[in-house]
């Protein structure tokens, strides 16, 4: 038994040094402030700068998707530290194209995804098909060499800046998984309207996308007609297994710092036994998250992934993340009420932003309630609850 990750050999020092120099020379200056979560910029100028930055990283040989595993690790380590995005939009479609795409699709899209030239968004959820994705109603009707697609999508991250969309629409008149088909949608197509949503954070990461008789060439289908559910499951399983890189690395330490600043009953809150117990609990659960990650990685490497691995890790992370942010606000006392740009706010209001954004993680990527169904039904083989609509 071990959890050791091989040390990066010293022959990679030059690669790391080169990347550091590249970062110093090319790091974009953005109007947009990096907050918690997977944020989209608010200023289109920032997107232009970010495209140039990501493209530059790729062209100089420093992108985060290097084939060499040591180079990839160094890139992610160094780029995470910049707090500037280095992956734009939602590139999960890449996995679907690798596994289900045609030769032409692979050649046309994969290099441009890797280089950051194309920004993608995901067009899955609908107003009446969120957790119950199989209820989606967007229709695709064959008309010669095209499918004509109409419907409404929502929660599409980065859609306002995206070049392409990874779309699920239904062919035929079936229900449930029947007829669901995956497409590549050129976001500049006639009939595509994108309307940004403003979220509880006050920022805009998600969009509504309206599709009005949009014509998609037949060759833009991913996989077979009606195979969209399997295509999407493969990508979603991947999404649930990958957690955000921006999460608090040492939440117990962050709470210790907050508790030292707060006074309670004539002494620092860190001397209060109830506070100390909560910090101990957070320390335990954040370390267990790491240990669970070791198990999941080991199983994945041995092709023994269990049906509960991805949903369990997502539930664990998102609920702990919420608990930590909620507790941090309580520890901050009156300052817990203050947000960024307020001079009196603690650490520029980052905990307040994390607290608001935390609800994104407990809902998105399969709400935690749906994931508990997944654990119950796929991992524990419990019977399904009867549906009310069929």
């Amino acid at each position: 038994m071990d959890v050791d990750i091989p040390e990066i050999p010293s022959r990679y020092d030059a690669y790391r040094q080169g990347l550091r120099e590249f970062i110093v020379g090319n790091l974009p200056e953005l109007a947009f402030k990096q907050r918690s979560g997977l944020r989209a910029p608010e200023d289109p100028e920032d997107v232009v700068k970010l495209r140039r930055w990501v493209r530059g990283l790729h062209d100089a040989g420093y992108g985060a998707n290097r084939d060499d595993p040591f180079e990839a690790r160094i890139s992610i380590e160094e780029l995470e530290r910049t707090r500037i995005p280095y992956v734009l939009g939602n590139p999960l479609v890449a996995g679907a194209i690798v596994r289900f795409g045609t030769e032409q699709q692979r050649a046309a899209y994969l290099p441009a995804i890797a280089s950051g030239e194309h920004i993608w968004t995901q067009l899955f959820s609908e107003p009446d098909a969120g957790s119950d994705l199989t209820s989606l109603r967007t229709r695709a009707v064959l008309d010669g060499g095209h499918y004509v697609v109409s419907g409404q999508k929502v929660w599409s991250t980065w859609a306002q800046f995206s070049d392409f969309g990874y779309l699920l629409a239904r062919i035929g008149s079936g229900a449930g998984r029947d007829g669901i088909t995956a497409f590549i949608l050129d976001m500049k197509s006639e009939g595509v309207t994108t309307r940004p949503l403003r979220e509880i954070t006050g920022t805009t990461d998600f969009n509504e996308v309206f599709l009005d008789s949009v014509r998609i060439p037949v060759e833009n289908m991913i996989g077979e007609p009606g195979a969209g559910w399997s295509v999407a499951q493969a990508s979603l399983a991947h999404e649930r297994g990958t957690l955000p890189g921006d999460k608090e690395q040492d939440p117990a330490g962050a709470l210790v710092r907050a508790a030292r600043h707060r006074r309670r009953g004539g002494r620092a809150a860190i001397e209060d036994g109830a506070v100390r117990q909560q910090i101990g609990r957070v320390a335990a659960r954040s370390l267990m998250e790491r240990y669970l990650g070791y198990r999941v990685q080991t199983r994945a490497a041995n092709n023994q992934t269990a049906a509960w691995d991805a949903p369990l890790v997502k539930i664990w992370f998102s609920e702990l993340n919420l608990e930590v942010a909620d507790y941090a606000l309580r520890l901050l006392g009156g300052r817990g009420a203050l947000v960024e740009d307020e001079p009196l706010a603690h650490e520029d209001g980052r905990w307040q932003d994390t607290f608001l954004y935390a609800r994104s993680w407990t809902i998105a990527g399969g709400s935690n309630e749906i994931l508990r169904n997944v654990i119950g039904e796929r991992a524990l083989d419990l019977p399904r609850e009867p549906r009310g609509d069929r």
């Binding site: 038994m1 320390a283 267990m288 994931l371 119950g376 524990l380």
Partner: protein
């Protein structure tokens, strides 16, 4: 990255599971719920042949492990012992063996290790007067005497002490904490089985009245046993966690099966989200506990840099998870879970008692807070 038992450890685990299913089934445990003793020396000796008491004993004294991480090997065995709610002092005997192997002199090792490994010597550890891991809760005083030391006082919650052949006694000497090896029977040492919540295991009060301990019975130096006691608590927490994971896994399996079989309102109760989601929560806690337990075993086996933190995580979380799972299992079973005949309460009783021994979860959370403070510069 290989965070799993290896093939040899899985083999040991499988052999242990089959052995316990055959030789110590729940039906046998149930015949002894109200008996003075739950311990079966025949099963113990045969278990020793499978390696239960030899893994932390060096080869030259008749021991041997299956990998170069004996503590992980032993954790695999302890998971199975927990799964069967096995009553015997597997944890205590191994803690004593490890202490003798690490701190004993040549004569002590010769005298005890081979006998422990063979299953001829059942050993247990007398910790404190209140079952806690507090240094000032040691209830046995050791004062210098012509022969060595004279012991007076009491230790409680010692696993199966009344069945044991050897005690390891934590004592407070004027110069500091001291460990004494006490082969039994010994004049002045008496036992009382405590009326306990856990019906599957006997915990004892051990009284010492002017008990003579010769110099050769002292493990290490008088007054200098602090590190040895810390080591013993680390191993105890690892094994206690492993037992808790095994027991939690078993009671969870029983409960999932019940949720599939039991029908109400024309449906299996496991189809209701009220039950399904609770079972998902139990699995989440079980898997988190398993990861914590394994990591603690690994960190102790390899003496990793984060060893103390890993042990504290296991101590803080694993038994709480077991108690949560066992308690909810009774709840999900409904009325049948409240009956004496159903096994669910045996798991709930074991869980509750384990939460109280060798440092309770609150004590470990306090340690984690201290470690977090030490890592966060002022």
């Amino acid at each position: 990255m290989d965070f799993a038992y290896n093939d040899d450890q899985e083999l040991l685990r499988g052999v242990t599971r089959r052995f316990l299913e055959e030789r110590h089934p729940m039906a046998l445990t149930r015949t002894r719920l109200e008996a003075e003793s739950t311990f079966d020396r025949g099963v113990w000796r045969d278990g020793a042949e499978l390696g239960w008491t030899a893994l932390v004993v060096p080869e030259q004294y008749g021991g041997g492990s299956v990998t170069d991480q004996p503590v992980v090997d032993l954790a695999a065995v302890a998971e199975e012992a927990g799964r069967a709610l096995f009553p015997g002092p597997l944890l205590s005997t191994n803690v004593v063996a490890d202490a003798v192997a690490a701190y004993g002199d040549e004569q002590q090792r010769q005298q005890f290790l081979g006998a422990i490994a063979r299953g001829d010597c059942v050993a247990t550890w007398c910790t404190t007067a209140d079952g806690s891991a507090e240094a000032d809760a040691i209830g046995v005083e050791a004062v210098p005497a012509p022969s060595g030391l004279k012991l007076d006082g009491v230790a409680r919650f010692a696993h199966d002490a009344h069945e044991a052949d050897l005690l390891l006694v934590s004592c407070q000497a004027p110069s500091g904490p001291t460990l004494v090896l006490m082969p039994l029977p010994a004049p002045g040492v008496s036992f009382r089985v405590l009326g306990g919540l856990d019906l599957t295991r006997r915990l004892c009060e051990v009284s010492f009245e002017s008990v003579e301990a010769a110099g050769h019975q002292i493990l290490g130096a008088v007054g200098a046993a602090g590190p040895a006691i810390d080591r013993a608590y680390r191993l105890a927490t690892v094994l206690q966690s492993a037992e808790a994971v095994g027991a939690a896994e078993r009671v969870f399996e029983i409960t999932v099966q019940y949720a599939k079989d039991r029908r109400q309102f024309g449906r299996a109760i496991g189809s209701f989200q009220a039950i399904k989601h609770r079972l998902a929560d139990l699995l989440i806690e079980l898997e988190g506990a398993r990861a914590a337990s394994w990591y603690a075993a690994l960190a102790v086996a390899d003496d990793r840099f984060d060893r103390d933190e890993a042990v504290a995580v296991a101590g803080a979380a694993v038994r709480d998870a077991f108690a949560f799972i066992a308690g909810e299992s009774v709840q999900i079973h409904g009325g049948i879970g409240f009956t004496w005949e159903h096994d669910a309460h045996l798991f709930m009783r074991r869980a509750k008692v384990e939460q109280l021994l060798f440092g309770d979860p609150d004590w470990h959370r306090e340690r984690l807070c201290r470690l977090a403070e030490a890592k966060a510069p002022v």
